[in-house]
């Protein structure tokens, strides 16, 4: 029965992916993509990866969907022109053969995976006690493979630097996006007043529970970013000016604290990014709190885009 569910879910996911590619309208493609993200999150639950599922639903289904829908609506004017430039039959045939070859090869590889499967699950569980956290995925992210996570937090800030640098010179340091003016008595403003307390509580819960249950800084950060964007979209608060020192410190707080703890590990625990055993959980939670705030700010600002207006006094 559950196998039937998996097969049907897979078929729907692939059908939505095909629709993303073949839909006439760019807007329809983007909406299909958002739906695809939500259904893939369900697939992750079926693969016993609740942490990944939470990330997928918050980031791919939520934030990426919002980003792409905004882009598609601004590019709508040239949609018809682009649709007229369809590739020729020869190119399509070549692309179809290529994609069948790649997918077929990968599919055969999936069916020919070695048995018994190589796994680091035993090693991860065996080394869990010294880290003080109970969730093995969090332990991998923050202790066993902490270098990846450190570099990732830096990559998010670098992407934001890239987005900001697309602003024309005279708008550098200005506020991103247009000032939103939603109806103050409309449903959007109502939701933007009611939902933020719930969003903040859920984000903090995901962070705190992430030490022992599915959850963590990225999932919490994505939800915090979405809550913040809702308040901005409803016009209840303006987007921040990007020249603010407080904002910039907030953005680098996570990577900086992570780096500082990493270097301290050279003296305290004999290796870069190692934690002294007695302090491991406290240090991991402290870094996760800073990372939550930095990731939330960076993701929110990435979605708002480059600075577009300067405050006129």
């Amino acid at each position: 029965m559950s196998l039937l569910f998996d097969i049907v879910l897979s078929l729907i996911v692939v059908a939505l992916a095909v629709r993303v590619i073949v839909a006439e309208d760019g807007f329809a493609a983007v909406v299909s993509f958002a739906a695809y993200g939500l259904l893939v999150a369900l697939a992750w639950v079926r693969l016993y990866a609740a942490d990944v599922s939470l990330t997928e639903v918050a980031i791919s289904g939520g934030l990426a969907g919002m980003l792409l829908i905004g882009a598609a609506s601004r590019l709508r004017a040239i949609d018809a022109r682009a649709a007229a430039q369809r590739s020729g039959r020869g190119v399509r045939l070549f692309a179809a053969l290529l994609s069948c070859g790649v997918a077929g090869g990968l599919g055969l590889a999936v069916l020919a995976l070695p048995d018994p499967a190589p796994s680091l699950a035993e090693a991860a569980v065996a080394n869990l006690p010294p880290t003080g956290v109970g969730n093995p995925v969090t332990a991998v992210l923050m202790a066993f493979r902490a270098t990846d996570t450190l570099l990732e937090t830096v990559v998010v800030v670098l992407a934001l630097v890239g987005v900001w640098s697309l602003a024309p010179d005279r708008l550098w340091g200005g506020r991103p996006g247009a000032r939103e003016h939603a109806d103050p008595n409309g449903p959007l403003a109502f939701l933007a007043r009611v939902l933020p307390p719930i969003g903040v509580v859920v984000a903090v819960y995901l962070l705190w529970a992430g030490a022992s249950e599915p959850g963590g800084a990225f999932q919490g950060g994505a939800i915090l970013a979405a809550t913040w964007l809702l308040v901005i979209m409803a016009g209840l608060s303006d987007a921040p000016a990007t020249h603010g020192h407080g904002l910039r410190w907030l953005l680098v707080a996570g990577p900086l604290l992570f780096l500082a703890v990493g270097f301290a590990g050279i003296w305290l625990a004999d290796a870069f990014l190692a934690y002294p055993t007695d302090w491991a959980k406290a240090l991991i939670v402290a870094v996760e709190v800073a990372k939550l705030l930095s990731v939330a700010a960076a993701l929110g600002l990435l979605l708002l885009g480059p600075p577009r207006r300067i405050d006129t006094p």
């Binding site: 992750w44 016993y48 990330t55 882009a71 601004r74 590019l75 040239i78 990968l106 991860a124």
Partner: protein
């Protein structure tokens, strides 16, 4: 057939759809979506491998799962950068085609 095999095949199919879209789609936004589908397929392959590595009381190997979480965040950051570049190109030239035709004369920045 196990769930790992089904979703592994689903991931392989998604990679195929992504490759097809990447080649044929004329609009850069569609290419970006196709690239994300390709990446999503790879992540699902990771998920299938993680599920097969279940053990020690866990439903899946936590190492590939953690790598996928890292990958998802990096993918959305890269997508946001690509969208910003695309919208800037649209603002500057009024078109975003990737065809080889001569580009329209760029408008001076206001």
């Amino acid at each position: 057939m196990t769930a790992a095999e089904i979703f592994g095949l689903c991931g392989a199919a998604l990679v195929g759809v992504g490759v097809y879209g990447l080649v044929i789609a004329p609009e850069p936004l569609r290419k970006l979506l196709a690239f994300n589908l390709l990446g999503g397929g790879i992540f699902l392959l990771f998920g299938a491998v993680a599920r097969r590595g279940a053990g020690a009381g866990l439903g899946g190997d936590p190492v590939p799962q953690a790598l996928v979480i890292t990958g998802l965040v990096v993918a959305v950051a890269a997508t946001a950068l690509a969208v910003a570049l695309l919208l800037r190109l649209f603002e500057a030239s009024g078109d975003v085609s990737l065809r080889n035709d001569p580009p329209p004369a760029p408008e001076p920045e206001s």
